[in-house]
Symmetry: C2
Subunit: 568 residues, 2 copies
């Protein structure tokens, strides 16, 4: 492709509103432009890369027998009312009325549409399992769109849905998807982890997120330094085995602690160790208020509390209500003498705290030397805290470290959530009606593009992996007005195109501008045609390593092929 015919509007300056590297570079290198907050145009170079990512996805989806279809963005409100999400989704669901005042949603996802399709067509176990996917534009009205394509309001997604007669079949497809996703992100040359995203009922294997490791990630991942274990910190199981300190229990004592409310203040005031302290929270799980205890150096994990109780919802109790229930304000709460009608839950670590410090349920007073069983009741122990760096990995291998990640994929066993609400059933081999089991599987396609940029760049610009680069070779004559250079360039352009995808910079720009643009755009190899054109010698620069080679024109194709193969 001749660069003069392409539309690659590069920018010299870093755009003011772009906070992260990949966003800055995609703007500067002429890949994307913003149309509205969180809404972008993909210019030709980015459209090209999107195609390549889409092709990888299609190949891997086909390999596991998933069929491509295309569902609409316009979704009738009735379907969303059936599933209940019309009411629960909130302002992120973009809604509109048609000319007849009928309500529609702009699909952020397609569970309702596909469930309604399937329930109309699949009536027998003979037609199951079934796996369908699409690559399609999605809409989500983010409160604060940011980071370019990472958190946009209109974006390209691959979403897949599978339908099953039994759990075994769902598990199988889920595992196929896991492998396909691993292949896809590996082929996109991403450094990623598959992360456990739920510690729910069926063994914590019901949903996994594929996270690209990156400082700018919005999620924190706990991962093992010695295995492939990884989980959202909120989801990671704590398997620490605590030991009881070998020291005598002292008598419980109530002491004045004027104005001391936080663990940090108490530690300072009493010259104590945080591990000696008890954090006391009051939570509301569905309609029940419960007291939750964790050690002073730990953070309570509300999702674990919710799961332990089998509750649907969990939230912090209102401070006014806490005062009424406990007789003291937050900061002076504790389990000793807590009201008998409120259950006390404690993290496993609490059982091993000897002579603990806790609020006295009286403002400005604390107890010291509080011991479970002797001084206070615990109704239920469990794993109720967030994992921490340094904890042993739950899989028994290595130690937990933290990293930040960008979610690029998500696989999820939906079970009967939608099929039950929307009455998608089949007749089994015995003619009995059963609800279809479902799985759903998403990949942020435009987000993946951005994640690749975030992991593949340097201070001069983008550095594309060979298989995703919009072109493999950037052919750059130093001076198109020099007849020898122009002649050789045209010849090489014809020649190279037989074997490679080539972008030829035929613009009348200064060499400095061309080289800077070339580095920004980030194609794997640059062939510079300069003064030695008359001798038939050109220069190859490897974008990733900066390595520069002089080669004779007859060796050019072979050398480039070798370089690309090595880079791949």
């Amino acid at each position: 492709m001749r660069q003069s015919k392409m539309f690659i509007p590069t920018l010299r300056d870093v755009p003011a509103d772009a906070e992260i590297k990949s966003h800055q570079l995609l703007l500067r290198a002429g890949y994307i432009r913003q149309v509205a907050s969180g809404v972008y145009t993909y210019l030709p170079l980015a459209r090209n890369v999107l195609h390549k990512i889409e092709t990888i996805i299609r190949e891997e989806m086909e390999a596991i027998g998933s069929m491509e279809l295309l569902m609409p963005a316009l979704q009738p409100a009735e379907l969303w009312q059936e599933s209940g999400r019309w009411y629960s989704y909130g302002p992120e669901l973009m809604r509109l009325k048609d000319r007849h005042e009928r309500d529609f949603a702009l699909g952020p996802t397609h569970e309702e549409v596909i469930t309604s399709l399937i329930r109309g067509e699949i009536k027998s176990y003979k037609r199951l399992p079934l796996s369908l996917y699409q690559i399609q534009t999605k809409f989500r009205d983010e409160k604060r769109p940011r980071f370019g394509l990472l958190r946009g309001r209109e974006f390209v997604m691959k979403d897949a849905y599978s339908f099953h007669a039994d759990q075994e079949s769902l598990d199988e497809t889920y595992n196929d998807m896991y492998r396909a996703y691993s292949n896809i992100f590996s082929r996109c040359k991403l450094d990623f982890r598959a992360v456990l995203a739920d510690s729910g009922a069926i063994g914590g294997k019901d949903t996994q997120e594929f996270m690209v490791l990156s400082e700018i990630g919005e999620d924190t991942i706990a991962y093992s330094d010695a295995s492939d274990y990884a989980a959202n910190i909120e989801m990671a199981e704590v398997k620490t085995v605590y030991t009881k300190p070998d020291k005598p229990e002292k008598p419980l004592e109530k002491i004045p602690t004027p104005g001391q409310k936080t663990i940090a203040q108490i530690v300072d005031f009493l010259k104590a160790d945080p591990v000696q302290c008890l954090k006391t929270l009051v939570l509301k799980a569905d309609d029940e208020y419960v007291i939750v205890l964790v050690r002073g150096d730990h953070e309570v994990n509300e999702i674990k509390v919710k799961n332990l109780l089998g509750a649907e919802t969990i939230e912090m109790a209102d401070p006014e209500i806490i005062k009424t229930l406990m007789g003291a304000d937050i900061g002076s709460l504790g389990p000793v003498g807590a009201p008998e009608n409120i259950r006390i839950l404690a993290d496993n670590a609490v059982q091993y705290v000897v002579n603990g410090i806790c609020g006295a349920n009286e403002n400005d007073y604390h107890y010291i030397n509080a011991n479970p069983g002797r001084d206070y009741r615990v109704d239920l122990y469990g794993d109720l805290r967030n994992i921490q760096e340094g904890d042993p990995s739950p899989d028994g291998k290595g130690t937990i470290r933290f990293a930040r990640g960008i979610e690029v994929g998500h696989i999820f066993k939906l079970g009967t959530k939608y099929s039950e609400a929307m009455h998608a059933a089949f007749l089994d081999e015995n003619g009995r009606e059963q609800v279809i089991l479902m799985g759903c599987y998403g990949i942020g396609v435009s987000r993946t593009l951005m994640a690749v940029c975030e992991q593949h760049n340097d201070d001069k610009g983008l550095v594309w992996p060979v298989n995703l680069a919009p072109f493999e070779v950037h052919l750059v004559p130093v001076n198109m007005k020099d007849e020898k250079q122009a002649g050789l360039t045209e010849k090489l352009y014809t020649e190279l195109q037989k074997q490679f995808t080539v972008l030829m910079d035929d613009r009348n720009e200064r060499p400095g501008v061309k080289f800077a643009d070339s580095d920004l755009i980030g194609l794997p190899t640059r062939v510079t045609v300069g003064k030695k054109a008359s001798e038939g010698i050109v220069e190859i620069k490897v974008r990733k390593t900066g390595e520069v080679l002089e080669v004779k024109q007859e060796d050019l194709s072979g050398t480039i092929a070798n370089i690309l193969a090595k880079l791949a």
Copy 2:
């Protein structure tokens, strides 16, 4: 692909709400399903065909140097307000508000978005010309969606936009697009005509529609039976050379015609010939009322009147106002004695009407023997009528015939319509600011799919052209429970896939069901594995011709290759 894994929900009955053949067949053969009025899901077979059409389009666009990009569906209202279309587009423009109450349109087309992109980036003649296209989902809130994908509310389009420094460059790209479009629709095996769609200022070559000939088409095309001339009937120039009948002018006479208002009534009442009558209309062109005369057997063409006057708008005058202006009601109007302050326009044919019949501007009275010049004034003659079957073709070759057509493509020289309204300008070689010239070029991708179905089917189902068929071969074992048949089928499935795309019907269905489904789905060749499997003999059926051949398994691939080559 194994059919048991595919999702092809065929229907035995013709769906009640599908009026046309292609719509019925796409539903029955399991290609599409409706989600809401005018909103469809493309099931795997249709998605496959869409990909093939899209690939053809991409190849032809690339061949003429148009670059692919991807613009968003969500378009800020501000851009549409700048162009003015926010106010003029009407209820077909789907509109919504985001969570911050900002107005957005769901793009039915992208002139505004791309003009706003280009004006920000293209400042110099050096960067022109430029041609960009996308394949993207569009939205238009049709008042009455119908005919399946033909008139939907969400549909796939290819839209291209070009930008130029001068008219010559625009003309060149327009001609390139014309060729590319011709190639695309030829490669889609469509019987189509490129139709003149405007008789506007610059020679009637500013816009052409690509119409697929079909009885169900919503537009009427006038075409020559002896050349490639074709135009929308409203746009076709009338080049008829009239001759004046050789008969003496008789004296003007006013006669009572009680209750006779239409041409048909007058013809009957006076035993006259329609060619003897004058139709008199009062139109409002911008703010001016004009009288327009055409011959009794002709239809007035308002667009031609508008163009002759250089008016922006044209409409029928209000009956009340006509009564006030002319002194009589519609049905009794005529040019004789018409008010002097109203201009009289007449179609060229009127000049040759000797002893004409017209209303007397007095209810229930007509004049006979009215002659132009002598009895009434004509201020302006011109081509003001619709062309008719039997008229000579305007290009001088052959005679005009009418046909109905489905518009699948449209190429248009926009000129400065958007670039002027939105201030998209460049500096020319002399450093002078000039407005960019634009062209726009659309193809209805999903509509093209439907048009192909409309032209390629028979009473048993669809009959795909080889290059668009979702698979080339339908491999159908009569009985999968027969070991010999199943064994040979699996072997052939592996074998054939090396050379062809194959759909294998591995379902446990009765042969009748399989064959009926196979005909419905419409793949070019069917290979039936039946009783002679044990002898290594199978049957090939050519879907299009119905031809049936028995072949030995070793000759199968070669025979299919020959058949496909012949069909292509």
